[in-house]
């Protein structure tokens, strides 16, 4: 089968080339000068018109388009850069504001604390002074009371002694001597207590 096809191919090739070369005797149409001038003429006209229209009308438009696109892109990049810078500035400002407000808050806090501490100290001092005053007053009263109580006790002792003696002996004793004795006794007692 394959052999048959190959042989057939060769035969037809041969046949074809035969016809080709038979036709070739007429020569290549390219070398027939009959229409050379016409081809040159029309080539110059068509190519000339094409060249002129492309040069004068179309290519400047395309180049314009490309240029405007290029400049547009550059412009856009520029504005983008500018906006980026602006946003960076805004961010810096914002951060500064935050920092400032933080510092302010801190100072407010410190002020308030100091105020409160001052207040507390003042109040405490006043309170302490009041307390001291009261304590000293009470102490004074106490010491007064102590001093007075000794005299009163002596007086009571003297009177009681006088009454007692009167009841026992039925005689009135000089109250001043009794008071002196009581005084001495109380002094001795006091000394004993102190010792």
């Amino acid at each position: 089968m394959l052999k048959k096809i190959v042989i057939l191919l060769f035969v037809t090739c041969f046949a074809c080339f035969n016809t080709v070369f038979a036709a070739e005797s007429g020569g290549m149409p390219q070398l027939n000068p009959e229409f050379w001038i016409s081809q040159i003429f029309w080539l110059i006209i068509t190519f000339g018109i094409l060249f002129i229209i492309l040069t004068k009308v179309i290519l400047p438009k395309i180049s314009d388009n490309l240029e405007t696109r290029k400049s547009q892109i550059l412009e856009n990049i520029e504005t983008a850069d500018k906006q980026k810078e602006e946003s960076q500035k805004k961010i810096d400002e914002y951060e500064k504001i935050i920092l400032d407000s933080k510092l302010k808050a801190k100072s407010y806090f410190n002020e308030a604390r100091e105020k409160i501490l001052d207040d507390i100290n003042k109040k405490r001092a006043a309170l302490e002074r009041d307390l001291d005053e009261e304590i000293s007053e009470v102490e004074k009263e106490l010491s007064d009371l102590k001093n007075k109580s000794g005299e009163k006790i002596n007086k009571i002792a003297a009177e009681t002694s006088a009454e007692l003696i009167k009841e026992l002996i039925g005689e009135e004793v000089n109250s001043s001597s009794i008071a002196a004795i009581v005084e001495d006794q109380s002094k001795i007692n006091k000394e004993r207590k102190d010792v």
Binding site: P29, Q30, F35, T46, L50, L59, R69
Partner: protein
């Protein structure tokens, strides 16, 4: 006659015979496809350039990509001095590319498969580049034929070779494009003929070949337009920046 692979290159008159004096400048199928290619370029790029949106649509993107593609090709090969010639090289590249691509449509005529068309383009480029070179550097442009760092003994030989290679530029430039297009289209026609003659039994092999060749030819169509444009840039570079 239609099975003749060279038949597709025939030029024939469309419409009446137009004579300018004794010269025949009739409108032919070749002229028709030149007009179609030019119109297609103009329509596509005009639509692409008309809307000025920041985010391009498909046609605008296409035109802008082609613009930057050619601009990059020129600045890479010929430097910034070649900027004034941008529109010519752009037109040239687009014209050759569109002519090649329209030739890929079945039953279409390939303008660039004719040596006279490619030769006129190449000769125009050659003459233009030579004029630019002499205008920029005066007679100093002749230094192009004397490469630096060549021993004195070899110099006469090298200069002759350089001159021959310089003078053969238009021929090599035009023949490269013309031969590529003609060979490709002839091949496709021959393989297409094989499909018919081998029929349903053996026709599949040349058919698959034909399909593959179509892809290859589209690649070649683009590549040859690119090569044509980039060689123009290189010649221009020689004329503008004279250092060999």
């Amino acid at each position: 006659m239609a099975s003749n692979p060279m038949y597709q290159f025939n030029v024939y008159r469309i419409g009446p015979e137009i004579k300018l004096g004794s010269v025949d400048i009739s409108f032919t199928n070749a002229s028709l496809f030149m007009v179609i290619s030019s119109l297609a370029i103009l329509i596509i790029f005009n639509l692409g350039a008309k809307k000025k949106t920041l985010i391009p649509d498909k046609l605008q993107l296409l035109s802008e990509l082609s613009y930057s593609f050619v601009a990059k090709m020129i600045s890479d090969t010929a430097g910034s001095k070649a900027k004034p010639y941008f529109s010519f090289i752009f037109s040239l590249f687009m014209f050759v590319l569109f002519c090649n691509m329209f030739g890929m449509i079945p039953y279409a005529f390939t303008v660039t498969s004719h040596i006279i068309v490619t030769f006129v383009l190449a000769a125009f480029i050659f003459i233009g580049v030579t004029i630019i070179g002499f205008m920029k550097h005066g007679l100093g442009y002749l230094k192009l034929f004397v490469p630096s760092g060549v021993p004195m003994v070899l110099l006469p030989l090298i200069v002759v070779i350089e001159i021959i290679s310089y003078l053969s530029r238009p021929i090599s430039l035009s023949v490269r494009l013309f031969a590529n297009m003609m060979a490709g289209h002839t091949m496709m026609k021959v393989f297409g003929g094989f499909v018919i003659s081998l029929g349903i039994v053996g026709g599949w092999l040349p058919l698959s070949f034909s399909v593959a060749l179509t892809g290859l030819e589209i690649l070649v169509a683009f590549l040859q337009a690119y090569v044509f444009a980039i060689l123009t840039c290189i010649y221009l570079n020689d004329a503008l920046n004279l250092h060999h």
